[in-house]
Amino acid sequence: MSIVALSEMLGAAVRDASGAVRGRVREIAVAPQDHPTRIAFLIVKTAEGERMLPHDEIKSAGAAVRATTDAGRWDRFAPTDGVLLLKRDLLDQQIIDIHGRKVVRVNDVELESTPVNSHLLLNVVSVDVGARGAIRRLSKGLVPSFTLRALLEKIPPRVIPWQFVDLLETDPARRVKLKIAYKGLAQLHPADIADIVEDLPPAEREAVFETIDEEVAAETLEELDPDVQVAIVESLDKDRAADIVEEMDPDAAADLLGDLPEEQSAQILNEMEPEERQEVTQLLEFGERTAAGRMTTEFISVVETAVVEDAIEALKEFEGSREAVSTIYLTGPGNKLVGAVPLVKIAVATPAAALSDLSEPYVACAPDTPQDEVATLFDKYNLLTLAVVDEHGRIAGIITADDVIAMLRHRN
């Protein structure tokens, strides 16, 4: 078992079973449909055009390649987008390094060769993004290979194992064929995904948002700058955009739709489920810089006669964001807000304890309270959440501390 670099193999002379040089390696192909890492064939540029040397007919590989068969048996290569071409698709291109959580450029690709029976098994094991790969390629053909190998040994490698590599492909059909699903990326924290997405060019961003799970896409979108959000949503088709917006927090969704051109936000709203659409439309009607514009309508409220057990039941059923559950609101007749119970108190109380006994004095504001005043309230009372109450004393929504932090940061 040994490691051979893609750049060493490219241009290597290929000898067939007869021992004669028949051509040179032009490309190395992987067919993800058949096997995720195994080399499917080498494309050999021969006097008779481009031929495919299948993986089970390779006897040795490196700076020279030997085949176990005669060149006459190698099929003609017909260009297809169903295979991954390591030179064209990977070398010098950007990829996502899942482990390092960033976008990097590929300097070289490392293949592992394992002898099996009569032939050689070649697998992609990692991509080189460091100085070693760069120097190998820059000095290829200029420095004797022996000296070069000795020199490269001294350079600490910077490689990304293949399982942590997500490829960037902007053509949706080809993404399917190459089985690019951004599964690794989707495992990361949305804030990290957002950092990565910000480093990508627009078409690649779009590719990521078209492919990843809607829920992850929604959370990621919330972490991005408003103008980047707008650019991404504008680039997606309206159906897909609606699916993602539905999964967002209603307040974030309303902010985003408010930033979009009216025609587009109307199209997206049209595609949304009635329930989500109504919530978002309500929020859209308030000014963005008021309490109502900043609030979310997803919060937990129970009747004032409820006990701790009921609150825990409500928590289990709650589908909104985690920031919203730090306080459970109590409502009286006519849906009026009468009390607030911090989550900590519920955690330490017995299941049968009455919530009204645990209730604390709460802070609330009117829907048209300017956002600066909202921030002041959070600061003054050390709040995690703030209830927004309409003119009849009914709770319309809540503002969470993370919204206030985001608002303060964006103002600067």
């Binding site: 070398l91 010098d92 990097v104 760069a134 390629r137 820059l138 627009p202």
Partner: protein, 416 residues
């Protein structure tokens, strides 16, 4: 009413996109540019004004392609060169860009030093201070704040228009020689010919292509907003050309008319203007030189660090910490420290370095322009935004002429 509203909307749209093209075109009127225009006016009076129109057209064509590529691909020029032409070509080009821009940075700091020496302030004070300002603006600003600072700096170029007016030129003669075909006899004069080459060579510099495309990307301009972005490029180039025109006119109306031909730099021109056009014209000319030099000195180091790091796949960006992007910060810092530092070396052969910076620009330019043309015509990359056939013809001719003129200039410079 409707028309007025429409008009207002349009202005708002333009203002939202104005920036990268306008800034790039103006930075082009840097210390070296001002020197060249001043010398052209002093030596040949109004007779070189006809070059302004073709030069502006060439500038628009080249800049337009870079900004279009930025808007359509969302990638910088060095990224695209790396992806399409591989590591080796990129590496060589980046070394070239680094060296060339380093010489340019020295020239800009030299402009800073000489402009303040006109006011009697020592370069040992001004140059280190300017280097600090340059470093601070960029490190502590976001793209939009930096853009505002740069746009204000661009507006300051109006100083040259005012000093042109104060020089009381012969407007009619100046206007006429801008639009009439030059007399063919002039072309047999070696000095006249090499001045044309100098004017053309100072107009399009390699760094502009990298900087413009990168700022278009950073501003987030997309293919759909491209029409307004093109307007940004055109307005910027026109404004830059008008400024250049006034510099030539100011020097023609004063220095040329009394036979004072022997100036070598922008500072020389300012000094020579003093007794002829008055104190205000002198002050404006000198202040304009300082502004232009500092402006270019702010842009070159950061744009070089970005281009080189992106091309070579090294971590870059001001949002990264030093340990995360060491190469980026080292490049940036070294360019400023050494670029400003050599100016302070006693008996430093400054004039030689200025010439060298022009030569380096000239050597690098053909490669950059040819890469730009190949990339902008790559259908896989640009889709329907590739050059149209006639545009391609015009741009290849433009690039061909620019390359020929620049090579001629390099040869002339090397012969001394």
């Amino acid at each position: 009413m409707e028309a007025l509203k429409n008009w207002r909307v349009r202005i708002a749209l333009i203002l939202a996109v104005v920036g990268p093209g306008f800034i790039t075109a103006n930075v082009d009127n840097d210390a070296g540019g001002i020197a060249t225009y001043s010398v052209a006016g002093a030596q040949f009076g109004y007779t070189l004004l006809w070059t302004m129109i073709p030069i502006t057209i060439a500038l628009v064509i080249v800049q337009e392609m870079s900004s279009r590529m930025g808007a359509v691909t969302g990638k910088g020029l060095s990224d695209l060169i790396r992806e399409e032409f591989g590591l080796r070509a990129t590496f060589l080009l980046m070394i070239g860009l680094f060296v060339t821009n380093f010489f340019n940075i020295i020239a800009e700091f030299a402009g800073v030093a000489s402009s303040f020496e006109l006011f009697g302030v020592s370069k040992y004070i001004v140059v280190p201070l300017s280097a600090l300002v340059v470093w601070g603006i960029v490190v502590h600003g976001t793209y939009s704040t930096v853009e505002k600072v740069f746009l204000s700096a661009s507006a300051f170029y109006v100083a040259y228009i005012v000093s042109g007016v104060l020089a009381h030129p012969d407007w009619k003669a100046a206007a006429l020689s801008t639009v009439t075909r030059p007399e063919s006899a002039g072309f047999r004069n070696y000095g006249y010919l090499s001045m044309i080459i100098g004017l053309a060579g100072t107009t399009i510099a390699p760094w502009m292509q990298f900087y413009l495309q990168a700022s278009i990307v950073e501003k987030g301009v997309t293919a759909r907003q491209y029409a307004t972005s093109r307007l940004d490029v055109i307005i910027g180039c026109l404004f830059a050309a008008i400024v250049a025109w006034f510099i030539v006119v100011a020097c023609a109306a004063t220095l040329h008319s009394i036979g004072k031909y022997d100036i070598e730099s922008g500072a020389d021109a300012a000094l020579a203007l003093r007794p002829l056009a008055g104190e205000y014209a002198y002050l404006l000319f000198a202040a304009g030189l300082f502004n232009a030099s500092l402006f270019a000195a702010s842009i070159l180091p950061i744009s070089t660090a970005y281009a080189v790091c992106e091309g070579l796949g090294l971590e870059s960006g001001l949002d990264k910490r030093f340990e995360e992007a060491p190469a980026f910060y080292w490049l940036y810092t070294l360019l400023i420290v050494f670029g400003a530092g050599v100016i302070l070396v006693p008996r430093f052969p400054l004039f030689r370095v200025m010439v060298l910076s022009q030569v380096a620009n000239g050597v690098l330019l053909p490669f950059v322009l040819i890469f730009v043309l190949l990339l902008v015509n790559d259908r896989e990359l640009m889709g329907s935004y590739v050059n149209s056939r006639w545009y391609n013809l015009v741009s290849w001719i433009t690039v061909g002429v620019m390359v020929a003129l620049t090579i001629a200039m390099v040869i002339a410079q090397m012969r001394g």
